[in-house]
């Protein structure tokens, strides 16, 4: 039992790494939802491939299904190029039609075999861990693990080989075109690899896990990193942590780990989105309110300085009573103005502050 658990962890970790590498460029290139489309569209490929090759371990099935995924992308591009349909809508129409076809074929022909329609959503990693690969009498562990490891190796090889080109292309496609990098060709090859990853992960993990692992860890990493290398490292780290946490959660709840892994990836994304040091929601909100206060103080002091008597004239500032009170109280506390006979008078310190050009906070 424990060895089964370890293999389940290993499969999940390798799948998570592969998906998160795919996701990095999808998120950077603003086409994260293509992974959602691929997650649905490879289904007919897998089903038809299974009907043709009659062996679900056949590598031809994987390649056939990967080409179906690529076909989805091509259909989508064609439909988009006619300019008759909105971009988002064309993606939605193509993948939902292909997915429907897949569901119907599978429920007509394969009801009692491996592809139960419910398995499409979250697959079954634990069952995949039982299907071992035996070569020359040696038990090498689950077949899926080796398949995913191969896919991961291919992905890493491709990224290392074309690291520079991919980066240029992700951030400035026109420039990439200008220096003859053939962004379209590279992009198509890359989407083919993403499609292959989706297919391989689909059998064990189902469409939901593929989509979750391709979007959530890279999205979290996007908030934490500055460079491309950071991006990969954070994304992989978050994916691995959520995969492990998800497997244990699934084990304790006694359910298939795909749902819990997606859930953990989501939770880790949410916590990063909330608490990330610079890009997180909380720090952004705090920073924004601090900037607001500082700006109000500056405006207030400037208004006082411009007003020759150095007294506050209510009509100068079109603020609400509350905002005004807030600013006045803050300035009084910092001794930038003083109160005299119910009027506010600016001090020397306040004058200095008003004329200073210290805008450090606004950076």
């Amino acid at each position: 039992m424990t060895s089964l658990l370890i293999w389940t962890c290993a499969i999940s970790v390798v799948t998570a790494c592969a998906c998160s590498i795919c996701g990095v460029y999808l998120v950077a290139k603003r086409e994260a939802l293509i992974s959602d489309g691929l997650g649905h569209a490879v289904l007919p490929g897998i089903i038809v491939g299974f009907l043709i090759f009659a062996d679900r371990n056949s590598p031809w099935l994987l390649i056939f299904a990967a080409f179906t995924g690529l076909g989805m992308v091509i259909f989508f591009q064609l439909l988009r190029r006619t300019k008759l349909v909105d971009v988002d809508a064309s993606l939605g129409i193509v993948f939902s039609a292909m997915f429907s076809g897949g569901v119907i074929i599978s429920s007509q022909n394969l009801r009692n075999i491996h592809f139960h329609p419910e398995c499409i959503i979250d697959g079954n990693i634990a069952a995949a861990a039982l299907d071992t690969l035996i070569i020359g009498g040696y038990d090498l562990g689950p077949r899926t693990f080796w398949v995913m490891l191969t896919v991961l190796a291919i992905l890493i090889f491709f990224v290392v080989l074309l690291y520079k080109e991919m980066n240029v292309m992700s951030f400035d496609e026109l420039f990439a075109k200008g220096i003859h990098l053939h962004p379209n060709r590279i992009h198509m090859i890359w989407l083919g690899l993403v499609s292959l990853t989706t297919v391989c992960a689909f059998e064990t993990a189902g469409s939901i896990l593929v989509v979750a692992l391709m979007i959530a860890p890279p999205a979290a990493a996007y908030l934490l990193s500055k460079g491309m290398l950071d991006f990969f490292i954070w994304s992989g780290l978050i994916a691995v942590v959520s995969a492990l946490a998800g497997v244990f959660l699934g084990y304790n709840l006694d359910i298939s780990p795909a749902g819990p892994i997606a859930c953990c990836a989501g939770i880790s994304f949410l916590s990063v989105a909330l608490f990330a040091p610079k890009q997180g929601l909380i720090s952004k909100i705090i920073k924004r309110s601090k900037q607001r206060h500082l700006l109000f103080k500056k405006i207030f002091l400037r208004a006082m300085e411009q007003n020759h008597s150095g007294r506050l004239d209510d009509s100068n500032l079109l603020w609400t009573r509350r905002e005004q009170d807030l600013v006045v109280r803050q300035c009084l506390r910092e001794r930038l103005v003083i109160e005299q006979n119910g009027d506010y008078i600016i001090t020397n310190l306040g004058l200095e502050e008003a004329t200073s050009t210290n805008f450090e906070f606004f950076k």
Binding site: V27, R30, E31, A32, L33, S35, D36, H40, T82, L84, V85, D86, D88, A89, S90, G92, I93, S96, A97, F99, S100, G101, V103, I104, S107, Q108, R111, P117, E118, I121, D122, I208, L209, V211, A212, I215, A216, P218, A219, Y222, L223, L253, D254, I255, S256, A258, G259, P260, I261, A262, C263, A265, G266, I267, F269, L270, A273, Q279, L281, K284
Partner: protein
């Protein structure tokens, strides 16, 4: 030559239409088709088609949470739409609000924020679904048939559900009719709408709530995974045939009704035929037909026009002597 239906086939069809359950299901799915077709136009024109995907996937979490709540309170999990629907509405709306929060306050782009919310809500929903269905204790009464929310099972619709679906659809239609002018101007130019003094946030929220309602009522029949197609495919189809918003909405609603009715009939006639995918394929077939054959925008019409134009240019080309 058309194949004439045999007497037995005619009999089958009339039997089907006399069947009370089937009439309920047919009527229910037609309402759903009309509602999502009509409201889908606005999502399509706002260029927010994929928001529908996020809303529909997210509602699974709401459904599961309310199912578990009803189990905790009464001892039996309820599958009545009156109980599950508010959960779905709430989950869909909160997914939308969170997406907007992420998009407005972090540097994430819209597609990533949408995708991440889809993953979180749908992942948690599937997790709860699998927990409810697991083999070990506690066995939750009433858990059979929950899977149908994934791909839709229109046959499970009851008269009670029909009332729920009908009233929500009427609410959505009324909102659409009352705010027609505002929605129209907002969909085409939101900045202009804001500048002439309309409260755009209010309009946006109303539009999104209508969208959530239209999506949520369809989940039982079509399923969370494919609801997006029912929302955008009729709208994209209708867009090919017309230029005015009013006729687009009506045409799209009609296409929605037609694909739902046909899909529903096919699915009732064959064993192991999930309703949702059949409806989607019917709608996609109509879409492809329109894409090719629509009178002005259609691919064939445009190719013909281009050919005619190039011929006329050839004809009017000045001869070399003039040059």
């Amino acid at each position: 030559m058309l194949a004439t239906p045999t007497a037995r086939e005619i009999n089958l069809l009339t039997d089907l239409f006399e069947d009370y359950t089937f009439r309920v299901v047919l009527f229910g799915t037609s309402i759903i088709g009309a509602c999502s077709g009509g409201v889908g136009c606005f999502a399509y024109l706002r260029k927010q088609s994929l928001i529908g995907d996020v809303i529909s996937h997210s509602s699974l979490l709401g459904i599961m949470v309310l199912f578990l709540l009803s189990y905790l309170l009464t001892g039996t999990g309820s599958k009545s739409l009156w109980i599950l629907m508010p959960g779905a509405l709430l989950a869909g709306t909160s997914a939308l609000l969170l997406t907007r929060l992420l998009f407005n306050h972090t540097k994430l782009k819209s597609d990533t924020s949408l995708g991440v919310m889809l993953a979180i809500f749908f992942g948690s929903g599937v997790m709860l679904l699998r927990w409810v269905q697991r083999a070990s204790d506690p066995v939750i009464p009433g858990r059979r048939g929950l899977n149908d929310y994934l791909f839709g099972m229109a046959a499970a619709m009851t008269t009670d559900d029909l009332w729920m679906i009908g009233s929500l659809a009427i609410a959505a239609t009324l909102t659409l009719m009352l705010c027609w002018k505002e929605f129209k101007i907002y969909v085409f130019d939101s900045t202009f709408t804001h500048s002439i003094g309309y409260r755009t946030t209010l309009i946006d929220n109303l539009l999104l709530i209508t969208l959530v309602i239209a999506i949520v009522i369809g989940i039982q029949a079509v399923g969370v995974v494919l609801m997006i197609a029912l929302l955008i495919t009729p709208a994209s189809t209708a867009r090919q045939w017309t230029k005015s918003l009013g006729s687009m909405v009506i045409l799209s609603a009609m296409i929605g009704v037609f694909s739902c009715a046909v899909g529903c009939t096919i699915s009732a006639n064959y064993a192991n035929m999930p309703t949702g995918p059949v409806i989607v394929l019917v709608a996609t077939a109509i879409f492809l037909f329109s894409l090719l054959f629509a009178p002005q925008r259609g691919i064939i019409a445009r190719a013909l026009a281009r050919r005619k134009y190039s011929l006329s240019i050839d004809r009017h080309q000045p001869s070399e002597e003039v040059i």
